[in-house]
Symmetry: C2
Subunit: 193 residues, 2 copies
Amino acid sequence: MSTKSQERLRKPRADALRNRDRVLEAAKTVFSAGGAGASLEAVARQAGVGIGTLYRHFPTREDLFEAVYRREVEQLSELAEALKSEPSPVEALRHWLRSTVQFVATKKGMMAALAIVMNANSELAAYSHAHLTASINALLARAVEAGDVRSDVTADDLLRALIGMCYMHDQTGWQQSVLRLLDVFVDGLRVTN
Amino acid sequence: MSTKSQERLRKPRADALRNRDRVLEAAKTVFSAGGAGASLEAVARQAGVGIGTLYRHFPTREDLFEAVYRREVEQLSELAEALKSEPSPVEALRHWLRSTVQFVATKKGMMAALAIVMNANSELAAYSHAHLTASINALLARAVEAGDVRSDVTADDLLRALIGMCYMHDQTGWQQSVLRLLDVFVDGLRVTN
DNA sequence: CGTTTATACGGAGGATGCCTCCGTTTATCA
DNA sequence: TGATAAACGGAGGCATCCTCCGTATAAACG
């Protein structure tokens, strides 16, 4: 019981937080470059920590994938928040959508692994869906209130469209194509009177 | 030059063909059960061949994935061909679509790996797209000619719809859902006058 | 047929990666 | 500042990867 009371009080060690973040950053780099099967020891090396540290924070490869993914989803949320200060609501939306495409593009080799994790952990799917929908909603609502875009398109619609577009992942030059389609799409969202 | 002239003439050894097929069959089984990361030596064991034989036929894990996938696409083509003798064109189409869903369902763990291979090898994407489109087209054309289904839906549309449906791979019970949607879809294809 | 020869086979073994375990180090708290 | 819980690094045991080569055998040829 003495241990129990301390569990709550003691704050996590600073080096633990720092190392956790270093590993996540390294994982993003290494997996993006070498694909989902890249060596975890390479990740530890890149992060400048021991292999034991990596495994303590992320017991399985999937745990690491998941954490990297969550981190990026949160970064997209933060970007949406930051874009509230962008003068033009429409450009803010466009900017965010483009960033999302880049986000997908970076993870060439990771998408596959993420699909596995998503399958195994539907809570993660719900989590990311909620975050992304909320981000889009904030951006969309502002644009609608400003009278810049039509009001009959929901955040869910937009997310679905985005995912669908990014799914044509095979053709070469897909990224350019999606960016073009996004531009057309955003233009189409505008009220034209 | 003597070797060069023989390269063309000599036919492949029978045991080589047999073993290649055994490995593919084993790979299908093992990967379906154990996911894309399953041990290649387990595949060799299951196939009843040496590990060296496996590697000679398929130098990389991706080569093996690709070959398994190609084989299954071809089997879907053959199924489409066989279904030409099914009395009702609409039921033939429905049957084929349902088989495709099952095909996807079997490969839970493989889809991820396939996504990687598809990315790396766009020829494979073109190959499978062509085969699948052709299969659908044959089935669809027969149904249209029989006057059973509307004529303003292309094979490409149908394939896209199919892929999109199967992409909701996360929710539990997706398979039942897709099968239900397919039924609705096929019913919708019927001419109603 | 029997011989020759290209081709395929199996599996040993070195290299690499996975993951656990534990002695050492360090941040927190009294 | 000392005690101690928490985190660290990396050695080492085990599994898998993949290459290499001696052996076996199917096809070709006389």
